[in-house]
Amino acid sequence: MTFFRLDPTVYARHKDEVLRLSNSFQTIEQRGLSDREIADRLGLDERTVTEIRVVAERDCYPLDEWERAIEFKRKACADWAALALKRPDLKEP
């Protein structure tokens, strides 16, 4: 048995739809579909859908967004400490 490799063209064609339907991106009102259900809907096999979903989960944002996440948390955390402890000096400029 050879190692399963996802064809990048198959990935590019289906990634948005797979993510939209999947249970990875849950909403309160609507249950996500299983990989098997998505496969049936898109005419793909389940393993391919699983691989598309897993890669797409990581492919939503570029590395820059991870850097922005750090800055967001640093500022939000400092702002809350300043408010909760009544210490305006802790607030980030």
Binding site: S24, G32, R53, Y61, W66, F72, A84
Partner: protein
């Protein structure tokens, strides 16, 4: 008291003595309407009848007001409540003689859990979804969850009738400003993750950017490692590669991964500002 009532009381008592703050029981079949196949109790344990859910291990007041965002990420002590879940599973098998499966805290594939612990908490009557996303208990707010799937016919708890979200200060803020603390700190229309409103004093989520939330909750975890690894492999210059591999992002990420049970959750900003998630008691 019949057998199931006595067994339920016995297991709940054990959970609380073992360190759980709250404990409830969900009907295993109730998951079918909400969870896809392979993520339902009976998919993991054939013949599953009930799911025992425990919650607790909340951050302390000092953690919430810490000036470094990295404090809460290392205080996300999920393993404390997982220990209670494991103990319950053992007791169900040894004392009740029924199969018990501790729901693994990891993922089945990608970011998808084996079983949604938030759904389990809701169905066990321990809380309800907040506008920000996490399930909040009306008495204790934000907490960590663990669950045990079992073939034991325990008594099931009713759903939570009094949701913690929205809290009174949030309702007042919505009337006054048209927003809530969680929506203001992480607004989807300004680079954040959350969109929603209050309607008839109930939270209605209208948008959620799970991909962006992933970059914040798992900044220095598996996702962050994969992104930086890709960047490093694509960097042709040896010295520049070294800066990436030895740099703060990679180092912090590797520490987090190697202590993954205490470093999985790394963003708490929507919960930090949430009046229902933790009471901001006056402390000296």
């Amino acid at each position: 008291m019949n057998d199931s009532a006595a067994a339920t009381k016995q297991m709940k008592s054990l959970a609380l003595k073992s360190g759980a703050t709250v404990v409830g029981v969900a009907d295993a079949a109730a998951f079918d309407a909400h969870a896809p196949a392979k993520h339902r109790p009976a998919d993991l344990l054939p013949g599953a009848r009930t799911v025992v859910v425990v919650g607790g291990a909340q951050p302390r007041a000092g953690d919430w007001v810490a000036t470094s965002p990295w404090v809460l990420s290392t205080m996300g002590t999920t393993e404390r409540i997982q220990g209670v879940g494991r103990r319950l599973a053992q007791a169900i098998e040894s004392e009740l003689g029924h199969y018990a499966l501790f729901v693994p805290p990891g993922t089945a594939s990608g970011d998808t859990p084996f079983l949604s612990l938030m759904l389990a908490a809701e169905l066990a009557g321990l809380g309800s979804r907040s506008l920000a996303g996490p399930v909040l208990n009306r008495d204790h707010g934000f907490m960590y969850w663990s669950a045990v799937i079992t073939t034991a016919p325990l008594d099931v708890d009713p759903p939570d009738a009094a949701p913690a979200c929205p809290a009174a200060p949030c309702r007042e803020m919505w009337e006054r400003e048209g927003t809530t603390p969680c929506l203001r700190v992480c607004p989807i229309d300004a680079g954040g993750c959350l969109g929603g409103r209050l309607e008839d004093q109930r939270p209605v989520r209208t948008a959620y950017d799970a991909g962006r939330c992933q970059t914040r909750v798992h900044t220095h975890w598996v996702g962050g490692f994969q992104k930086l690894l890709e960047e490093t492999l694509n960097e042709p210059d040896r010295e520049r590669r070294k800066m990436l591999v030895y740099g703060d992002f990679m180092t912090r990420t590797l520490w987090a991964i190697t202590y993954s049970s205490t470093n999985i959750a790394q963003c708490f900003e929507c919960m930090r500002v949430c009046p229902a998630a933790h009471g901001l008691r006056e402390m000296r």
